[in-house]
């Protein structure tokens, strides 16, 4: 189990760095929701399924949708 958690944490850290490095806003958004998804997995591991569900639904799903719509409103959403 520890190995799996380690892999998830490394993926989360890498995608968190990738959010800052990506030039394309939509790619950065996708990397951001990967961080949230990894976090929700970690919540399951520490036996907090309620929080995990909230994190997956709101952190990974809804907030990336809101960000995508805000990018669309500002004209920044087209892939380069």
């Amino acid at each position: 189990m520890e190995a799996v958690v380690l892999v998830v944490v490394i993926v989360m850290l890498l995608s968190a760095v990738a959010v800052m490095l990506f030039k394309d806003f939509l790619a950065a958004l996708a990397a951001m929701s990967v961080v949230s998804l990894g976090l929700s997995f970690l919540f399951v591991v520490v036996r907090a399924p309620d929080v995990a569900m909230t994190e997956a639904a709101i952190g990974a799903g809804l907030s990336s949708l809101l960000f995508a719509l805000a990018l669309r409103r500002l004209g920044l959403w087209r892939s380069q």
Partner: protein, 228 residues
């Protein structure tokens, strides 16, 4: 200068996390409120999910304020971002895959969202999580066909009724001579679908309120004109 302050901030953050990691014993927490509530929650509220009993029974007013915050945030988000000129062009319809996928997923998402809301007092999940899923269910058709729109008046009426239900249930407890939002009705059998008194009704109100609010916000944002 900015780089220097950023490095200083990172150094401080690192020292803080290292200090916490050194001194924190993860198996023995200093606060034992969780265990104390866990021991009595199922008996006192009748909810098998101990988180629900905290969210709706022991800390019901917190949830009411959370709903208020969400309402304010959604309203302001819609106000700031949701502008549209009359002659602004609309996006074309999405491709075949997204349109068919939206039609197929809509009923499934509806069932999953309602299941999570109605079983909030038994299994993990509840009004907030299920509400978000309901909102995404109603947003998906809009994503597939940008020309169509949700009736915002109906949404605000449904949202207002759900919020009023939550407060009225809380007030009913006061007419009974108890504190605001005290759980009423028969607790029933632990783990049965109809149990835990008013808690499932409260969660249903929360779910419908959150769902309609977020669906309205998403529809509002999708309706806004896009800059090029």
């Amino acid at each position: 200068m900015r780089r220097f302050t950023a490095a200083l901030f990172l150094l401080g953050l690192g020292v803080m996390i290292a200090a916490i990691y050194q001194h924190m014993d993860f198996s023995n927490t200093a606060v034992n409120a969780g265990q104390a509530i866990n021991a009595v929650a199922a008996e006192e509220t009748g909810a098998a999910n101990f988180v629900t009993s905290v969210v709706l029974a022991y800390r019901g007013i917190d949830t009411l304020l959370e709903l208020t915050i969400l309402f304010t945030a959604a309203m302001i988000g819609g106000m700031v971002l949701g502008r549209r000129r009359v002659d602004a062009p609309r996006d074309p319809d999405a491709g075949f895959i997204l349109r068919t996928g939206a039609d197929l997923l809509f009923p499934l998402l509806l069932v999953v969202g309602l299941y999570i809301i109605l079983h909030g007092h038994l299994t993990p999940g509840g009004g907030f999580q299920g509400g978000v899923i309901l909102a995404s269910a109603f947003f998906l058709p809009l994503l597939a066909r940008p020309g169509s729109s949700i009736n915002q008046d109906v949404i605000s009426i449904v949202e207002g009724l759900a919020g009023a239900t939550f407060i009225i249930i809380g007030l009913l407890a006061m007419f009974d001579g108890k504190e605001f939002l005290t759980p009423l009705l028969d607790k029933g059998e632990l783990g049965a679908l109809i149990s835990a008194g008013t808690l499932p009704i409260l969660y249903l109100a929360v779910g419908i309120k959150v769902g309609s609010e977020l669906a309205g916000l998403l529809a509002h944002l999708a309706e806004a004109e896009a800059l090029d």
